[in-house]
């Protein structure tokens, strides 16, 4: 089996044209915590990948879940992570791409799906379509708090990783988000209040 990627929490193998994502044991965690996290996240991710696709967000197709091995077998999405792609886009392409991503995030939230780790590392552009991956930290939750936190995680990831283009990206993202989900105004409002509650806020 060929390891195609080694992420923070999982190894990805390419096997007969499909991907096996295996959440590996972490020596730094005691087995009691490790076992529960890996099981829950594997089950959740498999479920959310399917729910997200039904909500209109492209995701890999889940083919099999192995709860013993903590692995998910899914279709292989050939493409590039947006994290790397962003740097090469011109202004118009960037706006178009993130308006679209905003609308995908909105589709998730409209169906009360929380991704849990919305970053450009977890989005793949494949043949003109954006796929969301890595739903392991996600959940189904209809609360403003959960959706607001989901957006905050995204905004902060953009701030740290794509600092030079932060405002362009976020502006496009939120416009796409609101167009698809007008009630999302309250979610954005909540995101700002969660951020203000935090420890490190320069202006209030």
């Amino acid at each position: 089996m060929e390891v195609i990627a080694k992420g923070a929490e999982a190894n990805l193998y390419l096997q007969n044209g499909v991907v096996v994502k295996e959440r590996i044991r972490k020596e730094y965690r005691i087995p009691e915590i490790d076992e529960v996290l890996r099981s829950t996240r594997t089950k959740r991710e498999a479920r959310l990948l399917s729910l997200a696709r039904r909500a209109g967000v492209p995701t890999p197709v889940v083919l099999d879940v192995d709860t013993q091995r903590k692995s998910i077998t899914m279709s292989y999405i050939e493409g590039e992570k947006l994290k790397y792609l962003v740097e090469r886009l011109d202004e118009d392409e960037l706006r178009e791409l993130f308006t679209h991503i905003g609308s995908l995030a909105a589709r998730l939230h409209r169906s009360h799906i929380i991704h849990g780790d919305l970053t450009t590392s977890n989005m793949i552009l494949s043949r003109g379509r954006v796929f969301f991956i890595d739903f392991g930290l996600g959940e189904v939750n209809s609360s403003l708090e959960a959706k607001g936190t989901d957006l905050l995680v995204f905004a902060k990831a953009v701030r740290s990783t794509h600092f030079a283009r932060e405002s362009q990206i976020l502006e496009a993202f939120f416009s796409g988000y609101l167009r698809e989900y007008p009630e999302g105004e309250a979610v954005i409002e909540r995101m700002r209040s969660i951020e203000r509650r935090g420890r490190y806020v320069s202006a209030r």
Partner: protein, 323 residues
Amino acid sequence: MLCLGIEGTAEKLGVGIVSEKGEILANEGKPMPLKEGIHPREAAQHHAQNIKPLIERALAKAGVGMEEVDLIAFSRGPGLGPCLRVIAVAARTLALRYKIPVLGVNHCVAHIEIGRLTTGAEDPLTVYASGGNTQVTAFAAKRYRVFGETLDIALGNCIDQFARELKLGAPGGPIVERLAKGGSYVELPYVVKGMDLSYSGLLTAAIKKAKSASIADVCFSLQETAFAMLVEVAERALAHTEKEEVLIAGGVTVNARLQEMLRSMCAEHGAAFYAPPGEVLGDNGAMIAWLGVLSYSSGVRQRLEETQVIQRWRTDEVEVLWR
């Protein structure tokens, strides 16, 4: 050039003297005796009462007189307002009295820089955890960018508050670490949001759990859960930033179990692990002096009226001109 640095963002007052080559000539500290949590006004009084003798002690330790000092640096934030103002006044007074420049510097950035100085780490991902701060940072384009941080309370604050609530004593960190030995696991909530984390729910749950489970078990589980969360966030940030070094900073990272966990994570990802010596790991004056040296050498200047304190000063707001 010699820089005298004053630290006093929270309960610990520190004075350090560092040369432009990075030699630490003195690093004297005076923690405030704590019975409970930190009262900002009492801590400020403690700093005001102890600052003069502590400066004298640092000068004596370094074997220099005040007239040999070329620069004064102080922690301008983030921190407790009353404490920051006391050390700011002390710093400005020295600067005026001895006609030397004064610089207010960022406390969190100082932790990172003293770590790089004392360990030789070049471009690390820094895991910084203390009573008031919890963040994971890495350098990119002239700033220490924040890749992960707490969305509510700091890791140290979580453990200290837990210890206070259960009347275990203060500071809570070492007490909980000792009590955790021999405990076994009881379930507590584990909350990671992307590369950020949240400790307030864990604190509430741990206090509640202590009513039904043994103290040793709750201390053990609190440590295991809270630390695993931080290590996981560091691990995600390491994978995301593709850095090859991990540096620790802040009083909480003195904890042997936390260091063991971080070492294990680093080994798995082939990253080098750097732990600065204990005397510069927690809050200290030398780190402020060293950041004063770095800032001044790279051209940072502040007029006296520009040295006001900044209680909430984000790490990524500081332009890193020396790298």
